[in-house]
């Protein structure tokens, strides 16, 4: 899949940072660990220019899904119950739609969701990220738009409650 830009967050972002640091021969283990923790804490989102082979290995869902367990008890709204099994390997916590929306805007959030083609995976992401979408949506494009709209509502909701 040729792409010009890819966003990493959550476990994929952390794994990517660790992989980059691991490739630096001049760093001792303690320094590498300290830098990894500092970078993981400070960086919410990484925007890659292109997908390198190394990024593919850390950014694809295998690694991330292993560290993220979808919580089936917390289904959001009326989203049908997609399961992790149906979408494996898939990390429903990446991209963090709210964070991408707030840091890079609506179009970036939508663009990021375009990387997910499977309808059930989109539903799982919506459920796990508590972005309620209508159950009758069947088209991936519609679901992506609904997810972004739900993110926008949630941001507005929080903002309204904050002041």
């Amino acid at each position: 899949m040729a792409r010009t830009r890819r966003f990493l967050n959550g476990a994929a972002k952390d794994a990517f940072l660790r992989q980059v640091l691991a490739a630096e021969p001049g760093l001792d283990e303690a320094t590498r660990e300290r830098l990894a923790l500092a970078l993981q804490s400070s960086i919410a989102l990484i925007s890659l220019r292109h997908r390198s082979s190394s990024e593919l290995s850390v950014g694809t869902p295998d690694t991330a899904a292993a560290t993220h367990e979808p919580d089936a008890q917390n289904a959001a709204g009326n989203t049908p119950p997609a399961t992790a099994t149906e979408c494996e390997p898939f990390d429903p916590y990446s991209p963090n739609v709210i964070v991408v929306f707030r840091t890079l805007g609506r179009d970036a959030a939508l663009a990021e969701l375009h990387a997910i083609e499977d309808v059930e995976c989109l539903r799982l992401l919506a459920r796990e990220q508590r972005l309620g979408i209508a159950s009758d949506l069947a088209d991936a494009a519609d679901i992506r738009h609904a997810i972004v709209a739900a993110a926008e509502r949630r941001i507005a909701n929080r903002r309204a409650a904050a002041s």
């Binding site: 367990e69 429903p92 916590y93």
Partner: protein, 295 residues
């Protein structure tokens, strides 16, 4: 003069007392500091964790709690502050040669009632309710500040909600640690307490205050490592400064608060939570950290 560290969040059940007691033990044991924990929460959990039920009961019967202190001082009863302080508390052993000790100004079930009475007393002197409330709050703040002379750190374990005591503690604090559970509703609680601490009214005004200038820092507590928690923590990090430390949901943390008569080492008390506590201590009290730079 001591540095004042408030542990606060308007939301209950986020682990304020747990964190307050852990930091008090850690600072005394590892930082060799003289620490006073002021229990402002009417649940008195921090007091029970540090002196157990019987000694706390004796303290309240003897009129040596936070509410007695406020009440006496408002009535200008001239007891020395030390009269109200329980010294060398907690069940962690400290070497005799070390100055590090934890002391406690015990909490009181009556603090909310006492605050009401103090308000009424103050109201007799003035008619503007807002000013009366502010006067009570300021007076409480000054009274708590008196304890700063004998300690290196005063840790203020705040109650949930917005009592006069909680507001006074937040006003007084050099820095505020805001523990939170990484769940959906916690975001709202953090947003609100941040407005209060920074003394602003809107999210836009808060956003205009750079993270490095903020008087508070948030601490993810009861962390299990689930993906949804990470989403929320990443989201919260857009609006609020976060400690790098995370306090995981561990049995050893919960068990650590079964107060016992016999003293033990930090390792014995905190078990596998010890490295997490060490990281938290170093981050909060370390020489180059935000609290050290405060004030």
């Amino acid at each position: 003069m001591a540095r004042f560290l408030a542990i606060a969040n308007r939301k209950g059940g986020v682990g304020k007392s747990t964190i307050a007691v852990m930091l008090a033990h850690a600072s005394a044991a590892w930082g060799k500091k003289r620490v006073l924990l002021v229990d402002l929460d009417t649940q008195c959990n921090a007091s029970l964790m540090l002196i157990g039920g019987e000694r706390w009961d004796k303290a309240r019967r003897a009129g040596r709690t936070i509410s007695d202190y406020f009440f006496d001082r408002f009535d200008k009863v001239a007891e020395d502050e030390s009269h109200y302080v329980a010294a060398n508390v907690g069940d962690v052993a400290h070497p005799r040669a070390s100055p590090g000790r934890v002391s406690l100004l015990p909490g009181s079930l009556m603090l909310e009632d006492v605050q009401g009475e103090l308000y009424l007393k103050q109201a007799k002197r003035g008619s503007n309710p807002d000013k009366v409330a502010q006067d009570v709050r300021n007076r409480m703040m000054r009274l708590i500040k008196h304890f700063g002379h004998d300690f290196d750190y005063v840790i203020l374990d705040c109650p949930p909600g917005l009592s006069f005591a909680a507001l006074a503690a937040i006003d007084l604090a050099d820095q505020v640690v805001v523990p939170f559970r990484p769940d959906y509703v916690s975001q709202f609680a953090l947003d609100r307490v941040a407005l209060l601490i920074e003394r602003v009214e809107t999210a836009d005004q808060l956003a205009a205050v750079p993270f490095v200038d903020r008087r508070y820092i948030c601490l993810p507590n009861y962390v299990t490592g689930k993906g949804r928690e990470r989403l929320l923590i990443d989201e919260i990090a857009l609006d609020h400064p976060l400690l790098q430390s995370r306090v995981p949901l561990l049995d050893s943390v919960a068990r650590a608060f079964d107060w016992e008569e016999s003293k033990k080492t930090m390792a014995e008390k905190y078990g596998d939570a010890l490295p997490h506590l060490r990281a938290l201590h170093d981050e909060v009290f370390g020489a180059a950290t935000w609290l050290a730079k405060a004030g």
